[in-house]
Subunit: 300 residues, 2 copies
């Protein structure tokens, strides 16, 4: 179970998720409707919450959280764009996500593509506009620029996007353990790690914290993907109402498909312990431990 | 005809267009191949050239052009992503652009979507990485941040993308002159104006130059779209080998479709004169005048 502190941070993210959105303009209603639809489609906000948590750790709880909020918004805009584009017919071709129709099923493919592009552009517009508020304080401005760059790296072509490409390209092919590692580290891990480092940069982290946060982010990010893949297999079985064993229709390369469920659980737990250890020495890290515990619960 | 100075700037842009690209990695070969394919598909590089021109005007030719080059690269990455996504089957569904197969015809729709997302992300990664080089000079860092923000605005959901949405949504519908103005100003004009202002910010423009450059950018951007629409009609006629009058199969709302060819030419020439006048007092503006003259030639 996630702690109250997690839900407090989630409420902050939810309350600010539409800060960037304009008053409705009849000429482009649909664009903003489509962006809002997916922003409000019920995400757990794990990435911005991780960012805010590490911002609090890095700043020893001494900085006002408003300093980091635009970056929480930006992170969730990037997460949302990536889901909209992932769901498109040419990609995963999903009609539903979290029980709701996917963006293109509601607004059409053209608007879904543009809404995704719009969310990605908006993420940078939000961060850069926010940075302009700190032109007179070069120390804080530097933190903002470092944080924005970190996010662009983690979610860009040497991070999340190259992971997606490798995933798409190797579907329905057998895949080495090394390639699976590469896919997971980039497709899922890079963005999670970046979100954590964004919080560190904004909060003025020490070199030591940056190193520990990197270990935490890499371990958690990897475990996150493995747990997700395990859940996919388990929930497929439940839907079928019986234990059918390996899902032969699943063409994605995953930990369970290569190592089997039990070995995958073992690996995930090992990674989650590593994540836990990397931040145990810091105070105010309840949420960082929460998320680890939450992932453990899913597979124990 | 465009001047030698134009082609000198184009050569600079062309020589640096792949600066961001990595050594080939076998795991994600296709992503970078797809990005490169469209980056090298023969664009005129008008936006980055306009940016470099105004950078030179703003800095009185006193700053090294290398200061602005990463932004030229970023601008062309954004232009290229927007073309790849525009050409997709769910959008304009074009098989060819400038006589070459469009990105999705060569690499598939999934990779084309990801290559577009990758180019957009890379644009910000390039600008932000470059900004990190100026952490010790807060005046230059501020210029970089202002320039990046300007570009995010012009190409984002209150600029280019809202123009594309309004365009897509009003296809095959009759359209008021006011709405057409809105579409043109955003779909084409906003990015051109932003590119110009990026150059101004990087070069440390005076308030007066910023104002004149805004007039130039808005007038040129608008004229650019009108001339493009006129050329579309004219080249359609040529392809058909006879003068067929208005093209009834063209479902887009354009100046020619609302005002007719002659009135559209008149309006474009008026805008081009306005652009010319707005920069005539500045030295070193040969390329800014070149581009105006080039557009005039197309329709006279």
């Amino acid at each position: 179970m996630l702690s109250q502190e997690y839900y407090e941070l989630k409420e902050i993210v939810d309350n600010h998720i539409l800060d960037f959105m304009p008053e409705i303009d009849t000429k482009t209603n649909t664009l903003f409707e489509a962006m809002k639809y997916s922003l409000l489609a019920g995400g757990k906000r794990i990435r911005p919450i991780l960012m805010l948590t590490f911002f609090k750790i890095a700043s020893n709880n001494k900085m006002d959280i408003s300093f980091a909020i635009p970056y929480a918004e930006a992170i969730e805009y990037i997460q949302t764009y990536s889901l909209i584009h992932d769901d498109l017919p040419a990609m995963d071709n999903d009609d539903y996500r979290r029980g709701k129709l996917t963006n293109h099923k509601v607004f059409g493919e053209d608007i879904a593509i543009l809404a995704g592009d719009g969310l990605l552009s908006a993420a940078y517009e939000i961060m850069l506009k926010d940075s302009l508020l700190y032109l007179t304080d070069s120390d804080l401005l530097k933190r903002k620029v470092k944080a924005s760059f970190e996010l662009s790296k983690g979610t860009g072509v040497r991070g999340m996007i190259q992971g997606q490409v490798a995933d798409v390209e190797n579907e329905a092919k057998s895949c080495t353990a090394e390639l699976l590692e590469f896919i997971d580290a980039n497709k899922t891990g890079a963005f999670i790690k970046s979100s954590i480092l964004v919080g560190c940069y904004l909060g003025g982290a020490t070199k030591e914290l940056l190193e520990d946060a990197t270990v935490y982010g890499e371990s958690l990010g990897h475990a996150f993907q493995i747990v997700d893949d395990i859940m996919d297999v388990i929930s497929t079985k439940e839907e079928r109402g019986k234990n059918v064993g390996g899902d032969a229709t699943n063409e994605k390369n995953t930990y369970p498909s290569i190592y089997g469920i039990e070995e995958s659980k073992k690996q995930a737990l090992k990674l989650l312990e590593k994540a836990e250890n990397s931040v145990s020495k810091y105070n105010a890290n309840q949420v960082a431990l929460d998320i680890v515990a939450y992932l453990k619960e899913q597979i124990i």
